[in-house]
Symmetry: C2
Subunit: 351 residues, 2 copies
């Protein structure tokens, strides 16, 4: 028969972090698309809008007035999914009807006072300020909560209801599903192989190169071998780092730089402000700060939905929800495409 | 402190089928929504369109002409994610870079010759014909493949690119993730409790009633205790049934009837053709036909995205992708709302 080529021949790939599989059917990108088209993001966002609750000086839902902040700005989410106190659910009366307590806090962090900016359009010192604020919040909330989830929903397609550059931070009294999964698989890898999974993985990818997108002295970004979303990436440190708050000053600088390079490439891919959900995973905190967390390696996941253009996304629906994630181009194809894109933002290119 | 009320106090609930948790924060539905609005489905779909490849007599992408079919119609997907033969991936050279073979077939099944119908608008005998075709395909493809995933993506929001009423069937040489998860948890439940998990669950829900949506002599539909999507439901037989092909004639009739009642309620909820992805899970097939599959119970999942109205959906994004699914109303609230809706379709109500 034929020789195997990943770009022509369907196969499944194992995701060691989540302990599951993805179906890679790269030949499928050839099919024509006649389904839903996404609206491109608005181009005319005003820099300052007193009616936008994320702007400096604006009044929020709870009546509070934002300060005239000039850098990052953190405040409590006015509609939090997690609150610091809630009574405990009643005793579970049956193993198929199990509830457990959930406590926490939800915060919003504005990246910049201007609504018409996004991270890839911000300067390095401005991005570095975001990294600092992330590390501070991770430390502060991690003092008492076992999990601090920092995440950014970018673009209306990703459920983001406000164009102002911002992220959210939800700290919880429990380890969420994704954290438990990654804890289990990283723990197992360290005990079986004697090296943290993602440290070994980064070393391998730095050598193999075919899935690399950008790299510098401290960090690398790859389209992981097991990527689910078309242009999904994984941002990894080269040295063993457990948590955001463990980064050195110079690692924070180089993080700001590699994020900027990645996000400019993302915007350049379809010449549109690239939608995604991203977030940080590091070793658990709270009472876990006393425990051995050496199996953990800090990393960020970027999950962008676009597949073919600024208006055609990948839908993770029927087969994906009921059976298994499926992708329409290989991770190597995605990485090559991202790698070849310029590192100057398309909006800043000389005509 | 306060007494615990699920509708007021955040908590987590355990999903025994997937072995994970969902965060229930019902107080959160109060927040205003200023994000993306979905386009309602088109109202003017022509009954017959020779350019629509799913219509009787139309020419498909591969040049074949559809027969002038009058009931259901099954044909091979012209852009299949799974094909019957593909060379095997090369040997895996590292535990973090694991690929495995994937083979299979993808079929499309039209429910009806008319493009302007959907299941809830079809007659009972017409829906019964769909059930028969499902059972036949499950049996036919299950003779050789271990997993036959029948699923319907309904609505553009769910990545469906053709309004003609249809579903898909993807049969694979491997057990997909969701199948493996459910296999493991159902196996464990039977061995620990001596009764199939979902048989016990259906009995409990039939007695507790607060999450029931519709029921008849053979079937019940509940918003499961651990539902993720706002109006997610689980369709369960009352007796122990492993696979679609094991249903009796009268169970197929009563299945057609309960599906019709559920889907009419769904359409009536926001007076719109209700989008969802749904699919069937039953005991594995192929070589598993020889094995003991008594831990399995046949069931269908319905995953609809709408949250507040025909145009406001739930986004499973940042926190959900990176940490844990989160819902904004309790399963009991969703069930009550669905239960109270009329069983006559809003389009067929006398003025
Ligand atoms: O095969 P279709 O209907 O074109 O495609 C749809 O369903 C598939 C199976 O869930 C998904 O992989 C696609 O992303 C979605 O658009
Ligand atoms: O809090 P936001 O930005 O209003 O809401 C968005 O992010 C949340 C966390 O991922 C999701 O639960 C919501 O569905 C989404 O719309």
């Amino acid at each position: 028969g034929d020789r195997f080529r990943a770009s022509e021949h369907q196969h499944v790939r194992y995701n060691p972090l989540r302990d599951d599989w993805v179906l890679v059917s790269a030949h499928r990108v050839k099919r024509p698309w006649q389904g839903q088209l996404e609206k491109p993001p608005p181009e005319d966002v005003p820099r300052w809008d007193p009616k936008n609750p994320l702007c400096p000086g604006a009044t929020r839902a709870n009546g509070e007035v934002n300060p005239k902040y000039e850098g990052t700005f953190v405040f409590p989410n006015d509609f939090p999914a997690l609150q610091p106190d809630a009574p405990e659910p009643d005793d579970n009366d049956h193993p198929l009807f199990r509830a457990a307590p959930a406590r926490g806090v939800c915060k919003v962090m504005c990246f910049h006072p201007w609504s018409d900016l996004t991270l890839p359009l911000m300067s390095l010192p401005e991005i570095r300020a975001v990294v600092d604020a992330w590390a501070e919040l991770a430390k502060e909330l991690g003092a008492s909560y076992p999990w601090v989830q920092i995440f950014e929903n970018k673009g209306a397609m990703m459920g983001c209801s406000n164009p102002h550059p911002h992220c959210q931070v939800w700290a919880s009294s429990f380890l969420p599903n994704e954290a438990s999964l990654e804890d289990r698989s990283q723990r197992q890898h360290l005990s079986q192989h004697g090296v943290p999974m993602l440290l070994e993985y980064a070393e391998q990818e730095a050598r193999r190169k075919e899935r690399l997108v950008v790299e510098n002295a401290d960090w690398l970004v790859v389209v992981p071998y097991w990527a689910t979303w078309p242009y999904e990436t994984l941002l990894l440190p080269r040295r063993h780092v457990c948590r955001l708050q463990d980064l050195s000053d110079s690692e924070k600088d180089s993080l700001a730089s590699i994020m900027q390079r990645l996000l400019i490439k993302y915007d350049n891919l379809f010449e549109v402000s690239f939608p995604y959900s991203m977030g940080w995973h590091g070793a658990p905190t709270g009472s876990y700060l006393e425990e051995d967390c050496k199996h953990w390696q800090l990393h960020a996941h970027y999950y962008p939905p676009l597949l073919r253009s600024a208006t055609v996304r990948k839908f993770m629906v029927g087969y994906e929800m009921l059976a298994q994630a499926q992708r329409d181009l290989t991770p190597e194809q995605a990485a090559e495409r991202l790698r070849s894109l310029p590192e100057v933002h398309y909006k800043k290119r000389p005509e």
